[in-house]
Amino acid sequence: MAALAAIALLLVAAVFGPSLAPYSEDAEGAIHADARLRPPSGAHPFGTDELGRDVFSRVLIGARISLSVGVIVLVIGVTIGTILGAIAGFVGGRVGEAIMRFTDITITIPELILALAITAVLGRSLGNTMLAIGLVRWPIYCRLVQAQVAGLATEPFVEAAVAGGGGPARVLLRHILPNCVSPVIVRASLDMGLAILTAAALGFLGLGAQEPIPEWGAMVSNARNTFPTAWWSATFPGLAIFMTVFAFNVLGDGLRDVLDPRTTD
């Protein structure tokens, strides 16, 4: 429940960030050379960074980026994974085998590393980061959906649907896939945290959103130049990442307990 409250807070920050932030211009390129590296104070609760920008405002506005990255990454991953998994599970045979082999191979390369290789090829930007992470996330959903669809494909109700004259696409969409929704949702809610972590890591590597966009991972990376003396500019963005991911993980855990009671003890 506390996790839901935290996420609600996050959503508020994401939506209303620029209006709530005391120095929203700091997220858009403003620089205050005279206010560099001020420690946390009343005027700047999280201090200022190496360009004099208010860290609190930038963290607040960065919420929007982190949340949208997480959502878009999951949409890409779930979509591709579901399509491929459904085909593999329903059609089976050589095609199914081939798809699952490809899935296994993709999983062999750690996600972060494959994502960074893809981003390096596509070019540094937030959009490319989201695409790259989505492209490495799909195998998980493919496996999940394939297992579900393959299991359901032999059920009587599916046979009935096919006998009733339904083409494969219709049978899949109307009858099989709706039954796969629950595990996918559980998985996706658990993955939200991971997606945000991966995006932050890519941001830390300089591959994500470019200046002056206040992406949390990139903020931690920029703060390294003045670390550890100006500890606040690295600590608070990172803390924001941690708390966001933690909230989603707790939420996902809770959702799993509710929707998939088999896994609780």
Partner: protein, 335 residues
């Protein structure tokens, strides 16, 4: 039977490696813009780009390029790094031992923390130790590992001065004669106890950062398998026969839990190799992770591609090893 099982698993390896190499190859070729430009880098002149194109036969059909790529791979041709100036193969060979050592210590730490936590969780199921362990595990996977590294560095190395800030050993200390490249081993072989101690001290923080993410999954899997084993008949029989609890747990439960934890090793390694890029950069650890980090910062693509290939290969081989060990310990799956 066992030989057949191993044989089957071994046969998958070339396919997996081919697949990984194909992915890396495609990444370098299916590029918006000019692959030769990508390989040559931002600073290349048009003449240099053309030279690259000729050398890497980028004007040939794609399957011909792939065959040439594979041929080059088998000869150890992985390109050249722009910032070290050396062939990438030499760079990777030089930096790999540091990462191997770090990962080994990381996995050890993860097991040392995760397995007891999992056993405790199972024994005190649903009571406060269980809740605490699960809460801590959930916290552990939520940390951005690069931020955790910075915070631990700030707290333990800078503020409290308990551990070194970075590097593999103090600048003033003379390094060991390189035999394996694993400093703890090399110092031990040179009978330098102080050196071993120093190397371990330097390993502790980075390895801990790497371990934190895996502790959660190891805890969870140990807990599940211990609970599973505890519920079985032969455990009740052992207890009914009067065997002390210590023996029941030590002998049967742990052995079965070990098998389940084995499956986590592949996952843990995957996670740690990815994490190495971030953790090594924070602690200035001269491994392949830091090498990849520097290559990424400069968008030096050939080292990035080679690194991806290397890591994919390592994971594939470890997964094979885990599967084989699984077959050794659990005869049921050798069908």
């Amino acid at each position: 039977m066992f030989v057949q099982y191993v044989g089957r698993r071994l046969a998958l390896i070339p396919i997996t490696l081919l697949g990984v190499s194909a992915i890396v190859f495609l990444l370098a070729r299916i590029v918006p813009g000019d692959p030769a430009q990508l390989a040559a880098g931002d600073q290349a002149t048009p003449e240099m780009v053309e030279a690259f194109r000729q050398e890497y036969r980028l004007d040939r059909p794609i399957w011909e390029q792939y065959v040439a790529f594979l041929g080059g791979l088998l000869q150890g041709e992985l390109g050249r790094s722009m910032f070290t100036g050396r062939p990438v193969l030499d760079d990777l060979r030089a930096f790999l031992p540091a990462t191997l050592e770090l990962t080994a210590v990381g996995i050890t730490l993860a097991l040392l923390i995760g397995v007891p936590a999992g056993v405790f969780s199972a024994l005190y199921r649903n009571r406060w130790p269980d809740q605490l362990a699960r809460g801590l595990a959930l916290t552990g996977v939520s940390f951005p590992v690069f931020w955790l590294a910075l915070m631990l560095q700030l707290l333990l190395a800078v503020s409290l001065d308990l551990l070194p800030i970075g590097g593999r050993f103090p600048a003033a200390y003379k390094g060991p004669a390189t035999i394996t490249g694993l400093y703890t081993l090399d110092f031990a072989l040179a009978r330098d106890a102080e050196g071993v101690g120093l190397a371990l001290r330097h390993l502790l923080l980075p390895a801990l950062c790497l371990a934190v993410g895996s502790v959660a999954s190891i805890t969870r899997i140990t807990r599940t398998s211990v609970l599973d084993v505890l519920g079985r008949d032969f455990i009740r029989t052992s207890r009914a026969m009067g065997l002390p609890e210590r023996v029941v747990i030590g002998k049967y439960v742990l052995k079965n839990a070990f098998i389940a934890t084995l499956t986590m090793l592949g996952v843990a390694l995957t996670y740690m190799l990815a994490g190495s890029v971030l953790v090594e950069s924070v602690f200035d650890w001269p491994g392949i992770g830091l090498y990849a980090f520097k290559s990424i910062i400069q968008l030096d693509f050939q080292p990035i591609a080679a690194f991806t290939l290397l890591v994919g290969t390592m994971v594939a081989l470890v997964n094979l090893g885990v599967d084989v060990l699984y077959g050794v310990f659990d005869p049921r799956i050798r069908r």
